[in-house]
C-alpha cells in the first residue's frame, strides 16, 4: 500500500527537476555503500545534500553511511531529517531506534496522553508530500465523480456518484488538514542532536551556572528557546536546561 503511494509520489515529483548529476551521485553513493566503502558513499550523499537538495531517501542513506562509519550523532541527525520528510517510513523509524540504542544516554520518555499519541501517529502516518499528492488526486477524482453526478441521467448512477464524490472530497480535505498539522507539528517541535561527547546542562545561559545534568553525544533534545549562543533544551523525560548552541545540531 505504502509502496504504491510512494510510486504516486514519484510520478508527481519529476515535476521538480533533479539534476542528472545528483542522480549520478546518488547511484554512486549506493554503489559505494553496497561495496562497504562507506567513506565514499558518505561523500557522495553529502555532496547531494550540500548542493541544496533533500529527500527522505538521501537523508536516510546518508544516515546509514554515517552509522557504518561509527558517527552515531551524524547518523541520528540525518535519520531524524529523513523522519521529518517521511514520518511514516518504517525503515527510517527502525534505524532511528537502532542507532539510539548505541548512544550512551538512556532517556525514558515521559508517557504521552494516549489521545495525543494517537493524534501524532495519525498526522505523521504519511509524509506531507504524500498527503499533498493524495489530496490532489482525491480532489480531482472526487470532483470528477461529482461532475458525472451533474450530467448523468441514470438515477442509481447519480446517487452513487454523489456519495462517492462527496466522500472523496471530504477525505481530500482531511488530508489537506493533516498535512497542515504535520508541518505545524514539525515547526513547533524544534529538535536537535547533541554532537559533543559530553555536555553539562546548566541551569541558566551562563558558563558559571549551576550544572544540572550531563548528556552525551547522540541524545535527541527538544529546543525550547534560543538565546545568543545558548539554547534551552528539554530531554524527552522532561529535564530541561541550557547548553551552548555549538554542542548541538538542529534537525
Amino acid at each position: 500500500m505504502k509502496r504504491g503511494l510512494y510510486l504516486l509520489l514519484l510520478l508527481a515529483l519529476p515535476l521538480f527537476s533533479l539534476g542528472d548529476d545528483n542522480t549520478a551521485l546518488f547511484e554512486k553513493g549506493n554503489a559505494a555503500y553496497a561495496k562497504a566503502q562507506y567513506q565514499q558513499a558518505e561523500k557522495a550523499y553529502q555532496q547531494i545534500v550540500d548542493g541544496g537538495y533533500q529527500s527522505a531517501t538521501v537523508y536516510f542513506n546518508l544516515g546509514n553511511a554515517y552509522y557504518k562509519l561509527g558517527d552515531i550523532p551524524s547518523a541520528l541527525l540525518y535519520y531524524e531529517k529523513a523522519h521529518k520528510l517521511a514520518p511514516g517510513d518504517e525503515d527510517i523509524n527502525f534505524n532511528i531506534r537502532f542507532a539510539n540504542s548505541k548512544t550512551s544516554d538512556k532517556v525514558e520518555p515521559e508517557p504521552e496522553f494516549f489521545a495525543t499519541q494517537w493524534w501524532h501517529n495519525f498526522i505523521l502516518f504519511f509524509s506531507a508530500s504524500t498527503l499533498a499528492v493524495l489530496s490532489i488526486l482525491l480532489f480531482l477524482a472526487g470532483f470528477g465523480v461529482l461532475i458525472l453526478y451533474l450530467f448523468t441521467s441514470s438515477i442509481s448512477l447519480k446517487k452513487a456518484s454523489f456519495f462517492i464524490g462527496v466522500t472523496m472530497v471530504f477525505v481530500g480535505l482531511v488530508m489537506v488538514f493533516m498535512a497542515n498539522r504535520q508541518i505545524n507539528y514539525f515547526s513547533n517541535h524544534h529538535q536537535a542532536i547533541i554532537f559533543s561527547s559530553t555536555v553539562t546542562v546548566k541551569s541558566s545561559p551562563d558558563a558559571s551556572a549551576k550544572p544540572l545534568f550531563v548528556v552525551h553525544e547522540g541524545t535527541k533534545v527538544t529546543v525550547m528557546q534560543t538565546n545568543d549562543t545558548w539554547i534551552e533544551v528539554e530531554l524527552p523525560n522532561g529535564n530541561a536546561g541550557w547548553i551552548a548552541s555549538s554542542d548541538v545540531k538542529e534537525i
Partner: protein
C-alpha cells in the same frame, strides 16, 4: 641380669598385647628408665663451612621425631633416619638414629636445641648441644695428617675467599633483551669456574614475575664442561639451567638472579714436602648469584591486528581436517585444527570457528605435542572441535584464517586453513535426538542485528524549500478540482436554459439538418460553379426527402414525393414551392436561369427543408 633381659622380652611382647597384668606393667615401667634418646655431634669445634654430623639416637623404636632448632646452622642434609636391630644370644637390641649433616656459614657459638621423639607413649627429649665455630674449615679427612696445621693459615684462605668471586661465578645469559609480548626468550644460567667443584645445587628457582616460564629439560643429566675464555681468563663453563620465557605484558621485566651454593676445593700454597706431594687443598662452601637481567617487552602493534587474534607469537603453520565429509544428521563430526611451529604454543587460545548455524558446536579439546629445548618451544597444538549437524543439507565449513604475529618481520601473518563441504544426510529420527527437542518446530535464531539497508529506489530529490507541499503547483492542482466542478455546474445551468424553448430548439435542429444536406451546394456556391451548384441543391433536396420520407432512391420521383408529403398533411403551397425549386434546379443545369440569384435559390432550399422539418 637374667631377670632384666626377661623383662625386655616381655616388654617387646607388651607392645603388641595390651591386656597385661599390672605386675608386668610395673616391670615394664621400670624398664623405661633404660630407654635413652641422645644427641651427639661428630665435632663441637668446627670451622666456617666445615661439615659435621649430628646424630639423635634412641635405643628403641620411636615415632613422631620432632627435629630441633639449629639456630642458624645450615642443614646440608637430613634428617636421615636409620634403624638397626641386633640380636645376640636371643637378646635383641633396637636402635633408631636421625642424623643431620650441618655446616656453619659464620663464626660464633651455635646451640642445637633438644629434639624430641615419642616412644611407647612417652615423649623423650635429647640433651642440647653447643657448637663452636671459629676460623675456616680445616682440611677434610683426605688429609688427616694435615688437619691440625690446616686450621692455622687463616690469612691465606681469607685472601682466597675474597677473589673467589673471580674464580667462580654464575652468569645469566639471554638471547635477546628487546622482545614483543609473547615472544620467546631463552635464558641460560652458566657456571664459570677456575676451581674444582666438589658439589652443589641451585637454590630455589628464581621468581619470574611477568613471564610464562618453561624449563628446558636436559636430556643429558651430566653437565658437560666446556672451556671458555672470559675477560682474558680461561674458565670451565657448564650450563646448569635453561628456561624459555614468554613475557606476559609489556614493560621492563626483570629476570631474578639464580642463587647457587657450591663447595669448592681450593689449592693452598704448600708449606712442606707432604703438601707438595698430596697438594695442600681445602674445601670451602661458597654462595653465589647470577646478575639480574632486564627484558624490555614491547606490546604487539595494533595496526593490522585482527579482531580475533588468538595471541600466537612466533612462526606457525596451520592444518585443518575433518574426520568425515558425509554423515547423517545428529551424528558427530570432528573438526581438527593443528597449529605447528615455534612460539608460545602453550599460551595460544583456540581459534574461533564459525560452523553453519544449524551445527551444534562444543568447546574444543586441546592436545599438545610440545617440546622445550635449547632452541625454544616448538611443536604443535591441536584443537579438536566436536560439531553435530542437526539438519540434513549441504553445508560449507568456511576456511579459517589463522593469524599470528611474526616478531622477525614485525608483522601479523594470516594463513588460511582449508574449508570443507559437508554433506549431511537425513538422520534417524529416533537416534541421538536430545530429549528436550520435544517438538519439531524451532524458534528462528536471531544471529545479529543491524540497521536497515539504504534505499536504492529513486532518490526523489528536490531543492530545499521547494517541496511539493505548499508550492504554487500544489495549490493550482488542489483548486483544479473545485474549479472544474464549478465550470461544469455553470455549463449545466446554461445548457438547461438554452434548451428550455422547444420551438427554438426545433428550428436549431432543422437548420442543422439543412446545413448537412446542403453542405455540397454551399461549397459550389462559394466556388461560383453554377451548374454544379444547382445539381448539388437538387441532390441535397432529394437526399433530404429520401431520408425524411423514408423513400428508397430508386422510387424517388416527384409524384412519389408529393404523395407522401400530402399524406403527411403538408400544405400545398409548400409542396408547390418545393416542386418549383427542384424544377428550377433541373432547368438551370442545362440552361441559364435569369431573375433569381444563386444565393436566393440556396436560401429557398434551406427554408423548404426547415419548413418541412417544422411541420413533420
Amino acid at each position: 641380669m637374667l631377670k632384666k633381659t626377661g623383662n625386655l622380652v616381655i616388654l617387646e611382647g607388651s607392645m603388641k598385647k595390651l591386656g597385661l597384668l599390672s605386675l608386668l606393667l610395673l616391670w615394664t615401667a621400670l624398664s623405661f628408665a633404660q630407654l635413652k634418646f641422645t644427641a651427639t655431634a661428630s665435632k663441637t669445634n668446627v670451622g666456617v663451612g666445615e661439615q659435621f654430623q649430628v646424630d639423635f639416637a634412641l635405643n628403641g623404636g620411636g615415632e613422631r621425631f620432632i627435629p630441633p632448632d639449629f639456630h642458624g646452622l645450615d642443614v646440608l642434609s637430613g634428617p636421615n633416619p636409620s634403624t638397626s636391630m641386633t640380636s645376640i644370644n636371643g637378646v635383641t637390641s633396637y636402635n633408631t638414629t636421625y642424623s643431620y649433616i650441618l655446616a656453619a656459614d659464620k663464626e660464633g657459638t651455635f646451640q642445637i636445641d633438644a629434639a624430641a621423639i615419642v616412644s611407647n607413649g612417652h615423649t623423650l627429649t635429647t640433651n642440647s648441644l653447643k657448637i663452636k665455630v671459629k676460623g675456616q674449615a680445616p682440611q677434610q679427612q683426605a688429609q688427616p695428617t694435615q688437619q691440625a696445621q690446616a686450621a692455622a693459615p687463616d690469612d691465606a684462605s681469607k685472601a682466597d675467599a675474597k677473589d673467589l668471586s673471580k674464580q667462580i661465578f654464575l652468569k645469566a645469559e639471554v638471547d635477546k633483551t628487546n622482545v614483543y609480548v609473547g615472544q620467546q626468550v631463552k635464558v641460560s644460567y652458566k657456571i664459570y669456574t677456575r676451581v674444582g667443584i666438589l658439589g652443589g645445587q641451585p637454590d630455589k628457582a628464581p621468581d619470574l614475575n611477568g613471564f610464562y616460564n618453561q624449563d628446558v629439560v636436559n636430556r643429558n643429566p651430566n653437565s658437560t664442561w666446556k672451556s671458555e675464555t672470559y675477560k682474558g681468563l680461561r674458565y670451565n663453563v657448564a650450563t646448569i639451567k635453561q628456561s624459555i620465557l614468554f613475557p606476559q605484558h609489556s614493560g621492563d621485566l626483570s629476570i631474578d638472579p639464580l642463587g647457587m651454593t657450591v663447595v669448592v676445593r681450593l689449592q693452598l700454597p704448600s708449606r712442606n714436602v707432604l703438601d707438595d706431594f698430596y697438594g695442600n687443598v681445602k674445601d670451602v662452601k661458597y654462595q653465589m648469584k647470577s646478575q639480574p637481567i632486564i627484558i624490555h617487552a614491547i606490546a604487539l602493534p595494533q595496526a593490522g591486528k585482527p579482531a580475533d587474534f588468538s595471541g600466537a607469537v612466533g612462526s606457525f603453520s596451520v592444518y585443518a581436517d575433518v574426520d568425515k565429509k558425509e554423515l547423517k544428521a545428529n551424528e558427530t563430526l570432528n573438526y581438527t585444527l593443528e597449529i605447528t611451529g615455534t612460539g608460545n604454543l602453550n599460551l595460544m587460545n583456540a581459534p574461533k570457528i564459525s560452523p553453519p548455524v544449524d551445527f551444534e558446536k562444543y568447546d574444543p579439546k586441546t592436545t599438545d605435542h610440545i617440546t622445550v629445548d635449547s632452541m625454544g618451544v616448538s611443536g604443535s597444538r591441536q584443537f579438536s572441535y566436536l560439531l553435530i549437524p542437526r539438519h540434513q543439507g549441504d553445508y560449507m565449513l568456511n576456511p579459517i584464517n589463522f593469524t599470528y604475529f611474526n616478531p622477525a618481520t614485525k608483522q601479523y601473518v594470516t594463513i588460511p586453513a582449508k574449508g570443507f563441504s559437508i554433506k549431511v544426510d537425513k538422520g534417524d529420527v529416533t537416534a541421538n535426538v536430545p530429549a528436550f527437542n520435544s517438538t519439531d518446530q524451532q524458534e528462528i535464531k536471531l544471529l545479529g542485528t543491524d540497521i536497515r539497508y539504504v534505499k536504492t529506489s529513486s532518490a526523489g530529490l528536490y531543492k530545499n524549500g521547494e517541496g511539493f507541499y505548499d508550492s504554487v503547483l500544489y495549490y493550482i492542482l488542489l483548486l483544479l478540482g473545485p474549479v472544474l466542478f464549478g465550470g461544469a455546474l455553470f455549463y449545466r445551468r446554461w445548457n438547461t436554459q438554452y434548451n428550455s424553448d422547444i420551438v427554438k430548439v426545433k428550428s436549431r435542429l432543422a437548420n442543422k439538418i439543412a446545413a448537412k444536406h446542403l453542405a455540397a451546394a454551399q461549397k459550389e456556391l462559394t466556388a461560383g460553379n453554377k451548374s454544379a451548384f444547382y445539381e448539388a441543391i437538387a441532390k441535397g433536396l432529394y437526399g433530404y426527402l429520401s431520408d425524411k420520407l423514408n423513400i428508397p432512391i430508386a422510387d424517388l420521383n416527384r409524384e412519389n414525393i408529393a404523395d407522401k408529403l400530402k399524406a403527411r398533411s403538408l400544405e400545398a403551397a409548400l409542396i408547390k414551392q418545393l416542386d418549383d425549386t427542384i424544377d428550377l434546379c433541373e432547368m438551370a443545369r442545362f440552361a441559364p436561369v435569369t431573375g433569381i440569384a444563386q444565393q436566393e435559390v440556396f436560401d429557398k432550399a434551406k427554408n423548404i427543408i426547415n419548413e418541412i422539418e417544422d411541420k413533420i
